[in-house]
């Protein structure tokens, strides 16, 4: 049977308007044609787009370029990119996307990622590749997005009544390239997620995962069957040919299976590259409050938990409301005072009792002689510079008020400080990095401030306050934990002694962000656990869990610590299961 080849033709007949266009010389016209005739690169033997983006990339890593070239040249972008975590699959994929666009192969591209990685993908593609992707929020967005990115969890929704996917429009579009990040979640062939992806019409399909299977080789089969139907035969044939009876992880005909995998997979290990990975060393810095401060701290907690009322008399104990005020009040004395003043100034909004309580705390602040937290910070900074005066320190806070307060308090030290808040242009960001790298001792930033910036020349990070969202913390650490970091990184986190802060710091820093995972692994683990993305109240799920325990504990530290322990157990299970994932994958696909 011979199939007819489809031919799609487009003819751009837009004639120039002689009335308005500039007319150019014969020489220029001939030059233009000569150059056009010269630029005919039939087969992809090199990345023609690379020179355009290389200045945007912090490092020139040949394996990333090589990976992109192999995907383009050898697989025509129908491949599984299974590089180990930390090798920069996003960058390699970005290179593939850029090259396809540059060569005119791709006009419609869709990226499906876990919810927490959507923004990161968008930022990376924009900053490093000058490609603007549109985030799909609702179904109408499909009509206007040639370069679309969507959280797979958001768009895979299935309406049981109409027996249709809610975002069915995606299936009407013929995509030139489909990319699914963290694709190991497609291991279950009967899941809606897998069916949703399988129904997408695509010319090229790039699957990204560092761990194509966990416990069962059938997961790998399902993933590859999604990529290329029948590549490993039917499931029955796969079981017969490649699975040892009684051991789901051990393959029969190992070499044949590896050969089959090589036909569709690009996989590189960290050991094959020259990239060095440094350790994160967590250091919790206890803030010992004075008695007066302790009273204020407790009063604040009391106010939030039991004395926080609207003018109508209704108690404000919703998670979101607490979420809004708690971090500000615990960030620094300055931001606490600012928040309290706002309550006092909003007499219409808040209940008299709350206002009186706020005023009482504010009065206590007014007579306070010591700010233990800022003093601890100053001492910590001195200690760091005492060890090595040439070091750099990156301080994070969630609030601009705290940021400027710290600057003010650090002024007498005579240290050179760069503040950084808000979004900036790429040029401004470059200037800031330059300032911090070459002149300043300290940079103080909000985490949203320096998203996407690289400070691998600095190995000291201080969390003046800590977000309860581990991904935000991971983002903070990610600024210094980058390729090119030559030293182990000190992650200092300030926590008020004898308060819930100690438990939160322990959970997020010691049990999640600094447990020896490579950058990029924590989002995968949270994604695998279903703790990635937004919770019911629009905050991160882990954050929401901590918040729930905070509310439920009613100021009882023991109850709160138990709750935190529960989260810790879940995370540990996730890490354990992910480690198994890695080992199993490596045994099959990395074994020489």
């Amino acid at each position: 049977m011979t199939e007819e080849i489809i031919i799609n033709e487009s003819f751009d007949i837009e004639m120039s308007n002689l009335e308005v266009d500039d007319f150019n010389s014969r020489e220029l016209m001939e030059l233009k044609i000569k150059v056009s005739e010269l630029v005919t690169d039939n087969v992809i033997n090199k990345l023609i787009s690379y020179p355009k983006i290389k200045n945007n990339l912090t490092y020139d890593l040949p394996y990333q370029r090589d990976g992109a070239l192999r995907i383009l040249r050898d697989f025509n972008c129908n491949a599984l990119l299974a590089d180990e975590v930390g090798l920069g699959k996003t960058i390699t994929t970005g290179m593939v996307i850029k090259e396809l666009i540059e060569r005119g192969f791709a006009k419609k591209i869709l990226i499906l990622t876990p919810p927490s990685l959507v923004d990161q993908w968008v930022a990376e593609l924009d900053d490093k590749f000058d490609i603007s992707f549109n985030i799909i929020e609702n179904e109408d967005d499909w009509d206007v997005s040639d370069f679309a990115i969507a959280s797979i969890d958001r768009v895979k929704g299935y309406d049981l009544e109409s027996r249709q996917f809610r975002h069915k429009k995606v299936h009407d579009i013929s995509w030139d390239l489909l990319i699914v990040d963290e694709a190991h979640k497609l291991k279950d062939r009967l899941s809606m997620r897998t069916k949703f992806v399988d129904k997408i019409q695509k010319k090229r399909f790039l699957i990204l995962t560092a761990t194509p299977f966990q416990n069962d080789l059938v997961e790998l089969y399902n993933l590859l069957n999604l990529l290329k139907k029948g590549h490993l035969g039917t499931l029955q044939a796969f079981r017969k040919n490649f699975l040892e009876r009684g051991n789901k992880r051990k393959p029969l005909n190992h070499e044949v299976l590896k050969r089959k995998l090589r036909e569709v997979m690009v996989r590189r290990k960290r050991s094959e590259t020259t990239v060095e990975y440094m350790q994160r060393v967590p250091k919790t810095i206890s803030v010992d409050l004075t008695d007066e401060e302790k009273i204020i701290y407790e009063e604040i907690q009391n106010m939030i938990k039991s004395n926080y009322f609207l003018s109508s008399g209704m108690q404000i104990n919703g998670k979101l409301a607490i979420y809004a005020i708690l971090p500000k009040i615990t960030s620094s004395s300055k931001s606490a005072m600012e928040s309290l003043q706002r309550i006092i100034d909003n007499q219409d909004k808040y209940h008299k009792r709350t206002i009186t309580h706020a005023q009482k705390i504010l009065d206590a602040y007014a007579v306070l002689k010591t700010d233990s937290k800022i003093e601890t910070l100053i001492k910590l900074i001195r200690d760091i510079f005492r060890q090595d005066r040439n070091q750099k320190i990156l301080i994070y806070t969630k609030h601009p008020t705290t940021l400027f307060y710290i600057i003010e308090k650090l002024k007498p030290t005579g240290l050179s400080i760069v503040p950084f808040t808000g979004a900036s242009t790429r040029e401004e960001k470059t200037a800031i990095i330059d300032e911090f790298k070459n002149r300043a001792d300290i940079m103080i930033s909000t985490e949203t401030g320096c998203e996407g910036l690289n400070f691998q020349f600095c190995n000291n990070l201080i969390n003046y306050d800590l977000p309860w969202n581990p991904m935000s913390v991971e983002q903070r650490i990610g600024r210094i934990d980058r390729i090119g970091q030559k030293r182990n990184m000190n992650i200092y986190s300030l926590a008020t002694k004898g308060t819930m802060e100690e438990y939160v710091v322990d959970l997020i820093i010691n049990k999640m962000c600094c447990v020896g995972l490579i950058i990029g692994e924590l989002p995968i683990i949270l994604f695998n656990l279903g703790l990635d993305g937004n919770g019911n109240n629009g905050v991160n799920k882990i954050e929401e869990m901590i918040m729930n325990h905070f509310i439920d504990s009613k100021n009882n530290l023991e109850i709160f610590s138990k709750g935190i322990k529960e989260i810790e157990t879940i995370i540990q299970q996730g890490i354990q299961s992910y480690s198994e994932y890695k080992i199993n994958t490596s045994e099959l696909i990395d074994h020489e």
Partner: protein
């Protein structure tokens, strides 16, 4: 290599950069917008041979992609004027046979005609391969012309005022032509793709056939088990439970292979594979050059024996052809000067010579001789005063009585005096016509 060097040189000169050197080109004063898209700040030092001290440029160097992109929105329209020679009387003689006439005077007026040169860049994408073809098409009067090549002509830049926007070109023409030009190459690509597509289609078909076959086989074996169970000697209760389980298994398997669903899925993946193997052709207009050339309106005054004739003509300076000299009788184009006795310009078909040797045309040709049917020119035509018909010189006689012209038919000779006169004036005696004088004489003799 010198081609590459020339392109680089030419390009940077056009950019108003300072280009120094010969083997190695040093480019200084590079504009910022170019530096930005090239990703490198100037000055540049380009070499064209290996081991030379500079950035080695080959035809696949990134610089040429950048130049191509830089020029993409430039040089979209070019207005040119062909430098062509005007026509001289000597040149005219090569095109028109003067037939003994001389040019007394030529008045010239020029108008412009246009040829559109459309340069298309056609990109053919298939799988991960790209082919690029550049085609130049020339259009004149909404017709593709094959025998023109701009490279054969000297040009000077034209101005907007010299170009009359003559409405839109019919773009179906170039579109069809490009299709024609790509036809053979497309056939080759199709053949290549078919091999790969057939292989992938076989994989998909085999996969779905195997799926269906495996499930059917399983259903069959379950049915066999069911039949065996019916014939077994197990107790009824056990049999019933087992039977139910087997029947449920059959239903499950049938649901699993659901032929329509499998077929739908297979079709989807087959279409997807066909799309993967499709050819995408996109043609873009790279440059539109309007080439104008003069068409001279000539007013030539020919002269011969003090006779002057003004002849209008058009001279196409591009084709070097004289047009629009037309026969004033039949309006056909002529290539020689024939002027009739009445000063009409005519073709050979519309002219004739009279017996008097004068050239006569159908316009000035009065009639044929009524008697001998010979064509007679104006000056040779006589009117019979009797029958009022046109007659030629040889058939024209003079009535000796009235001295008027009469034709042979109307004349007769007096048998007596032998003089010729009009029949009407003669009198008949015994079937013979006598002139009035001889008639009188005869009649008098009879009386006396």
């Amino acid at each position: 290599m010198s081609d590459l060097k020339n392109i680089v040189k030419e390009f940077f000169v056009k950019l108003n950069c300072t280009v120094i050197g010969d083997d190695i080109l040093l480019i200084e004063n590079v504009p910022k917008d170019f530096e930005k898209i090239y990703g490198k700040n100037g000055p540049y030092r380009f070499a064209f041979e290996e081991n030379a001290d500079g950035e080695l440029l080959t035809s696949s160097s990134h610089l040429f992609n950048v130049i191509s992109e830089y020029l993409r929105n430039k040089a979209k329209v070019t207005l040119l004027k062909l430098e062509l020679e005007e026509i001289s009387p000597d040149e005219l003689q090569k095109h028109i046979h003067f037939n003994g006439y001389n040019i007394y005077k030529i008045n010239k007026k020029s108008n412009n005609d246009y040829i559109y040169k459309l340069t298309f860049e056609t990109t053919i994408h298939y799988l991960n391969e790209t082919e690029k073809v550049i085609n130049h098409l020339y259009i004149h009067d909404n017709t593709l012309i094959e025998n023109f090549n701009l490279e054969d002509y000297q040009t000077i830049p034209a101005t907007r005022r010299e170009i009359k926007n003559e409405g839109e070109l019919d773009m179906k023409l170039p579109q069809e032509k490009i299709k024609q030009l790509l036809h053979d190459r497309l056939l080759e690509i199709k053949e290549k793709l078919k091999v790969s597509l057939d292989r992938e289609i076989l994989r998909i078909n085999e996969h779905y056939n195997n799926l269906s076959h495996e499930a059917n086989k399983e259903i069959e074996s379950t049915r066999v088990k069911l039949a065996e169970l019916k014939n077994s000697h197990e107790d009824l209760q056990t049999k019933k439970v087992k039977e139910q389980k087997l029947q449920e298994a059959i239903i499950r398997l049938e649901e699993k292979i659901h032929p329509q669903e499998l077929e739908k899925e297979k079709k989807f993946h087959l279409i997807e594979e066909k799309n993967k193997h499709s050819i995408n052709i996109s043609s873009k207009l790279l440059n539109q050059t309007v080439i104008c050339f003069p068409i001279f309106s000539l007013q030539m005054v020919f002269m011969n024996n003090k006779k002057f004739k003004t002849v209008d003509a058009e001279f196409n300076a591009l084709t070097k052809q004289i047009h629009k000299i037309v026969c004033e009788c039949c309006s056909l184009e002529i290539k020689e000067i024939i002027i009739c006795s009445s000063n009409h310009l005519l073709c050979r078909q519309c002219g004739d010579r009279c017996s008097c040797n004068a050239i006569q045309c159908i316009k000035c040709r009065k009639s044929n001789c009524y008697l001998c049917s010979k064509q007679i020119c104006d000056s040779c035509t006589s009117l019979c005063s009797m029958c009022r018909k046109n007659i030629c010189q040889s058939d024209a006689k003079t009535d000796f009585i009235t001295k008027k012209i009469i034709c042979r038919q109307c004349s007769t000779t007096c048998p007596s005096c032998k003089r010729l006169g009009s029949k009407q004036l003669f009198k008949k005696i015994e079937n013979k016509f006598y002139c009035p004088s001889c008639y009188g004489k005869i009649k008098i003799q009879e009386v006396f």
